[in-house]
């Protein structure tokens, strides 16, 4: 086996350390994948509006290397009320619920989407891991929505990853939520 050069190992350890430290800051709550909190969020949304459907989700706290976080935020839209309401799920409970005042005519997410762990693995393979190592980057946000970010498939549900770096522009990685293919990457 070829030994890894020391600087590269240090950089990798530092990147991993950043991720782990971020997750550790989120206290002792067990991190979970995005889909695991969906039914709890939906129970709240249906109580608010029977026609509510999921249009968006993102991590509310730092994401670990398995695509899990102690808190996820889910955004629902009710056509009947023409309102958006967000639910933040932590430890299997709704810990925040609030109306979001913005116009976001996002279509409902497709029923099938790969979970956050699988999507993160795809993004890391795509360009995320390299960006983290080369630019001292860290994963800042992962979000799921439909009808944005992918010109080739404008109706697709996609995971979008935002990697931040102190050295320059962020890296965006768009992963198809159906098959896990990396659709698009850009710096901005």
């Amino acid at each position: 086996m070829t030994p890894t050069p020391r600087p590269a190992r240090l950089a990798a350890a530092a990147s991993l350390g950043l991720l782990v430290a971020s997750a550790a800051l989120a206290r002792d709550v067990t991190p979970f994948a995005a889909r695991a909190g969906l039914e709890t969020a939906r129970a709240g949304a249906i109580a608010w509006a029977p026609d509510a459907h999921l249009v968006y989700l993102e991590n509310d706290e730092a994401v670990d290397e398995h695509g899990a976080t102690p808190r996820w935020g889910y955004l629902f839209y009710s056509p009947g009320q023409d309102k958006l309401r967000a639910y933040s799920i932590r430890d299997g409970k709704i810990v925040a619920a609030e109306f979001v005042e913005m116009q976001l005519e996002a279509p409902p997410l497709e029923a099938h989407w790969i979970d956050s762990g699988e999507a993160l693995a795809a993004a890391e393979r795509g360009a995320g891991a390299r960006f983290r190592h080369e630019h001292r980057g860290r994963l800042k946000t992962m979000l799921l929505m439909r009808g944005a970010f992918d010109e080739q498939h404008p109706d697709a549900t996609t995971w979008t990853f935002v990697y931040a770096s102190p050295e320059g522009p962020s890296l965006f990685v768009v992963v198809d939520a159906q098959d896990g293919a990396v659709r698009r990457t850009w710096r901005g």
Partner: protein, 276 residues
Amino acid sequence: MRPLPPRPPLASLLLAIVLASTAVAVTTRAEEAEVKVERVKPDRPKLATLQFLEANRDFVRGELDRLRQKPLARRGDGEALDPRYLEYSKMLAAILADKDSAQVADEAQRRRELLASITELGDLEKQLDLMDRLLQEQQGRLATLEADFTGRQQTALVVVVTGDPGSTPISALALTLEGGSKVTIPLRQDQREALARGGVLQVFHGFVEPREQVVEVTLEGDRWPQGDTGYLTLDPTRDRLTFLKLDLSALRPAQGATSIHARTWLHETKPQKGEG
């Protein structure tokens, strides 16, 4: 959060009394808990959610709008079609119809021949088995739908009022749930008399979010200070029916709404297996 549709007043009162009495009788009292009515709204730390969306709403909206089909201002004027082209499509349809008729005749002939053979009888039996299986599967799906839409208990809250406030009658009671609008329930003379005789009045029945939340209770009456409000912290259990009883028998104007004795308990109906 989302009240159920109102019933006629008298029927509602009577039904409420019956329902509440029945519910009290069948409820597991082990889960009953006293709820403190506070004068000041509890201050809970607010957790930020969807921070990226909040900070980049223009960017996200822009990405969404960029891929959406937009109507153009330019009119799409059409030109008159050559009538011959329309005739061609009619001719094509006639050709296809004739072809279909021929195929149907051939098919019928083949079927007659097949029916004459013993093999066809075996196929028919298989077809019947298949239909039988499809029917069974359909029944299974219907049973699932029935369980989902008629048997599933969503998170709900019932608020009932008991007790005679005595010399400090109240004319109305208002409830405000977090994220919901204020619901004011006027207490008519006959309802107040029912309370004085030990009745139970249902004042709210609706769906609520399964999370810790503050419910505001405001009392109104000639001898009550304007807008006297108490705050109760409830945590309705997901997919269960939570009862909140407001006992007005110990009401004191000097103490205001905090003199309400409040208790909660869960109805014994639990989520069915496999409902998540």
